[in-house]
Assembly symmetry: C5
Amino acid sequence: MSPEPPAATSDKADVPSNRRVLCLTDGAVRELAETDLDEIDRIRKTRNALVWLDITDPSADDLALLDREFEIHPLAMEDLRKRRQRPKVDVYGDQSVIVTYEAVPFRDGPRAFELAEHHLFAGDRYVVSVHWAESAMIESLRTRFRQRAATIGASAGWLVYTLLDAVTDGYFPLLDQMAEYIDDLEERIVGARGGPSALREALVLKRELLELRRVLGPMRDVANAMLRRENDLIEVEALPYFQDLYDHLVRVLDQVDLYRDLVASTLEANLAVTSNSLNAIMKRLTAFTVLLMVPTLIAGIYGMNFRFMPELGQQWGYPAVLLIMAVSVGMLVIFFRRKGWF
Amino acid sequence: MSPEPPAATSDKADVPSNRRVLCLTDGAVRELAETDLDEIDRIRKTRNALVWLDITDPSADDLALLDREFEIHPLAMEDLRKRRQRPKVDVYGDQSVIVTYEAVPFRDGPRAFELAEHHLFAGDRYVVSVHWAESAMIESLRTRFRQRAATIGASAGWLVYTLLDAVTDGYFPLLDQMAEYIDDLEERIVGARGGPSALREALVLKRELLELRRVLGPMRDVANAMLRRENDLIEVEALPYFQDLYDHLVRVLDQVDLYRDLVASTLEANLAVTSNSLNAIMKRLTAFTVLLMVPTLIAGIYGMNFRFMPELGQQWGYPAVLLIMAVSVGMLVIFFRRKGWF
Amino acid sequence: MSPEPPAATSDKADVPSNRRVLCLTDGAVRELAETDLDEIDRIRKTRNALVWLDITDPSADDLALLDREFEIHPLAMEDLRKRRQRPKVDVYGDQSVIVTYEAVPFRDGPRAFELAEHHLFAGDRYVVSVHWAESAMIESLRTRFRQRAATIGASAGWLVYTLLDAVTDGYFPLLDQMAEYIDDLEERIVGARGGPSALREALVLKRELLELRRVLGPMRDVANAMLRRENDLIEVEALPYFQDLYDHLVRVLDQVDLYRDLVASTLEANLAVTSNSLNAIMKRLTAFTVLLMVPTLIAGIYGMNFRFMPELGQQWGYPAVLLIMAVSVGMLVIFFRRKGWF
Amino acid sequence: MSPEPPAATSDKADVPSNRRVLCLTDGAVRELAETDLDEIDRIRKTRNALVWLDITDPSADDLALLDREFEIHPLAMEDLRKRRQRPKVDVYGDQSVIVTYEAVPFRDGPRAFELAEHHLFAGDRYVVSVHWAESAMIESLRTRFRQRAATIGASAGWLVYTLLDAVTDGYFPLLDQMAEYIDDLEERIVGARGGPSALREALVLKRELLELRRVLGPMRDVANAMLRRENDLIEVEALPYFQDLYDHLVRVLDQVDLYRDLVASTLEANLAVTSNSLNAIMKRLTAFTVLLMVPTLIAGIYGMNFRFMPELGQQWGYPAVLLIMAVSVGMLVIFFRRKGWF
Amino acid sequence: MSPEPPAATSDKADVPSNRRVLCLTDGAVRELAETDLDEIDRIRKTRNALVWLDITDPSADDLALLDREFEIHPLAMEDLRKRRQRPKVDVYGDQSVIVTYEAVPFRDGPRAFELAEHHLFAGDRYVVSVHWAESAMIESLRTRFRQRAATIGASAGWLVYTLLDAVTDGYFPLLDQMAEYIDDLEERIVGARGGPSALREALVLKRELLELRRVLGPMRDVANAMLRRENDLIEVEALPYFQDLYDHLVRVLDQVDLYRDLVASTLEANLAVTSNSLNAIMKRLTAFTVLLMVPTLIAGIYGMNFRFMPELGQQWGYPAVLLIMAVSVGMLVIFFRRKGWF
């Protein structure tokens, strides 16, 4: 998002910072220069080769290149242009188009994360990944791919798995962080130390969880569709890996549902605590009112102007009344203390 | 709805404003005059021809014409007469009857949109669209069809897709607008700036979302039924397009469900905020009561008529008591301030 | 329910008012006299004939007749005797037994309608309808059948469809009426004009909707079972009609669900409005308390008996204090007005 | 539960009160004596015979007998020993094991009923029923079986049906009773005559309905499993009867769900009524406060000690002030009455 | 968790405390020493042998051993390393990997139990169980296995069943304990003896139930997957046992759901009780205010300084006024008592 990332992240000056091509041929990985982009086609025809084109924040130019080189279906092109798609896997001929969302943690502000959209186009011996913000996750995958292509896999299906797996794994630290946050929030609310901001925080959490759910449900369905091998991108040996991916997404969804229930509890608790505190306030109001009105009444009585009020003429009258006031207040204090109204 | 739309929207004076016929023959589109309506039948028999008859607010006459020309099933005729149908697709012989709803944004009043019913009758080489209010969407599709028939498609199935796609796309700006509105409402409520109208606004939103859900759920089912090719209107090549339509409707429904959850949160927040504000009021009432009753009690004490009250005779008595009152009130103010009750 | 309907609705004096037989033979409809009841059997054997026996509030005698003439399964007989069955369709051999509920609008009392149970027995060339209260709907169907047998249909399946369709159509005016009622109720509650009766009305509505749901869900399942042609009562040509019936029941159910959500909103709104009004009351209490206690304190101060209170001896003392009181009250009124506490 | 039932219910002194055997051979039913228990085996081998062994509160001895005579699967034995099983039907070889719950109405205490567990073991020509409390239902079935074996049925499948049907029918009076109770409770709560016990009663009802649901759901699944003929206990002719059983259980569940919704409404209503009553109390508090503080203020003013207060010296001063106090209180009473605060 | 369990639980000094191997060969069970670990492989090849390796809190070394000896799939290894998996059964070739959770009761602290993760690896003639805390359950199973191998079973499938059955049975006492706790909590809350800690306790309960549900749902799915024999670990004869396991898990889940509903009721009840108690407090405040202000007003009246107040000069004036005060307070007390405001 800042304007200078290329210097920091790209290591080949003549390739525009937002297009990066890695080629795997005969077990060796190399990065293509801008001028070699037309080589992609040639490499794709090589046996056992694999091309990974990654585009950050695509320009109209980039989209045209994609369309030309990879024969992308008009509907997929339109999705790419419009963005904000649901996670899904579409199969057009021998090309699979996958939309998925990465959770990018936020450092400042009340929100914990932002969802970054990724479109993947995978076909015979190529994978194209498109996203709109620099992605540390993609960067680290590129490094790993460059160093140990074998561990990432030499087929498009394996590369897609690796990408989806990295995306999914990115949700776990986020969820752990949320769990701690919810625990802390609940603790504060139940301990009546929530304050007015607790409500706002709970609502932000609830909304974030709703958004996670909205994205993760379809992502699980994508993994499931992969498992049912609705496209021939996935080799039989890769199935346990996609099963694992599916399991992880189910686990993430389970967590999200648990947290939604916990946040709902928290909001309920907030209401209960507010009600309790209202009761406490009203008890105190009642106690204060009685405490102050009793001596006021006594003072009022001795403020009456009757001619024949024997106490008024006594030397001990004034101190005695003050004593009576003090005693009655003292007894009321003890009474209300016992009832727990103070 | 206003009485003068024909002058503005129709460009053929001799066709009654509510019936408009577009014919595609040999790649050329032309608009038929009223007198040529009996030509429809002839054109429908031409190879590669396509007739699109659009009727706004049909009269009994129009319905009779429809019945005669397109052999509409009695049940479909009855639905047309009664209106307020659920979105659905019925297949009678080789004719598909589709009911769908367009979201027409409202400019004034508390409601954001109105749902306008559309009935489509599609068969071999013809599509009939019936609606009850002028529709800007239909108008723009007619323009596009007249200019670039190819882009809208030369078959009844494609034309139906185009119509349904336009209807679906109409929901997105509406939803974006609602999202902003909900955010704003929540912000106002949580910031205790909601006021009594916030409740009313949230209820209107909730009702609108319920109505959207009621219409969009069946519309998704229509798209799904199309996908499963339960009628032979749809060519195999068109399937990805109907898949895309289905995906869009699922996305719209997801949004609607998300917004319903958010509005529900908002109503919950409203309750919580009201409770909080009640607590604040009661704290203030308690504080005020105590603040005013303490000096009143002191004044009451020195209003007693005892003969022997040494302070009363002192020169400094009155100012001293005023001072005591001021000090006690001051200390109470500080005390309640610290507790946050002011 | 009133004792004299027979005179008004039956036109054949010698048939007991609760049994009415219509026969269709060779396109002509005639009403059988009591003495001809044994003719039913003969007519049923005629080709293209159709017998419709309608029984209101059956006596033990009527049940015995039914059992004898139409060989009703013991379980169906037991259901008939016990009543309060769920809507269902049971198939015993070549006889279909359908239980359905008609919504009979109520004129007085808080409830809007009553559900009247109907049992239908349909088999080869006969339909028997049994109900317990006079039914205007059945009466109008009999009239229509007598006048235009063809429009009601010459087969048992068509007659069953016509009966079920009439039952279903009876729910729509009821729902429109409820919609208006709910709108009105919500308007009153949100406008804080609900009063204590609003809660009672909302609860009655909720209960009515729960009861409707309980009856309409199984009725939809009946229509669906018919559609899947689980009995051979229904000809293939009739299927679109049963599809239409099914669609209507789904629409009714959709409405009922929508109304349930709206009534739930209304109850929520009621709570919110009550909370808001409590806040308003407490603000007023606080304001009144402060308004009255401030001058009381001032009066208390000048009621003290100190010998040296210079103001007391001044001519202008009394009016000045009254003025101070008035000014302080006035300022407090302005202050609370500005805060909106009055 | 009381210790003396055997004398009242058993009619054969030499059979221990908790084991009762009825045998049907050649259409005649007879009760076996204790000594004939080993005859069971012989009878079971007779054609057309049927043995029904009923055991109340089985001892270890009884269980051993069961195990020996009827070759019960170890898992079924364990369930028998542990009790508190879910309603279910298990098939072990040619033996079906059914667990079901009878609703035994309670006469005293806040709870309406108790659920009594029954285990049925049915196989070729025998049924064993085991329960832990004396069951009036079983007793009446035994009487009916003794008198009219044919009506209960001569096969194990029919006997099982009769038992399950009797169990199911036992829920209906209970539900009718609950319906009345809920109506009464709602009426009391909405009429603000609920008192603090209403909450407790509603919670007991809710819990009872939850328990009913937990037992009835699986019972319905048992009936459904029977219908799908997953064991060969059931003859084809008996299927309508099991369908009827299934329908009844669905009806019972529908009722239970309806009542749960009604009890939930009742609790909601309770909250609303409490809120309303709080508003009424606060209005009264405000009215009382104002009513009493206004004359107190007036009295305070004329209690001030200014030397020059002309009214004080007037003969009419005192009665005039009393009149002013009375008039202002009277006007305030009228004012608050009009606002409905009294 | 405490550092000294080995001394107490292991009976073979030369085996590291966290690895224990039991071998069944020719019907005899013996425990292998550390040095014999490489014998496992040999034993596994014997006909009718069975090896059970149990590892507590595995070190990197243990994991390497596992990987080497039992050829564990990389994904299963990763799950083992990462822990916190969902309960599941994965099949890799002829090895089944099962994740399940044991409920370990807690003695101190507010929480009732802790969930301990178990990973089981079962294949041809071996079972490996891995867990992270000492497990009394595993210990008792080992004892039983050593003593009566036959009762635990001589095949891997039976051993897995025994382990899963023991895990499941561990939930029942926990649930009984929770039921009592919930009853007690509800009783305290409804009886208004809940206090502020009741809310906290209810929230802890709710969270525990949510966690149980999250673990038990997938455990039920595991049992179901076993039943559908998706792996060939399970012999046909073992199916009723897995059916039983499945039934038990469904029962546990039913209980958990019931308890969740009860805890939700409890929280609702808490709110209702708080509201009721607020009403009671406000009634008391109103009563006290009126009780004290009436005599204060009377005293105020006789504190006025009018010259002509005939009562003031009377001997009986003062006692009469005191009597009037007492009588008016007495009547108010009776009035408020009758209304139940005290």
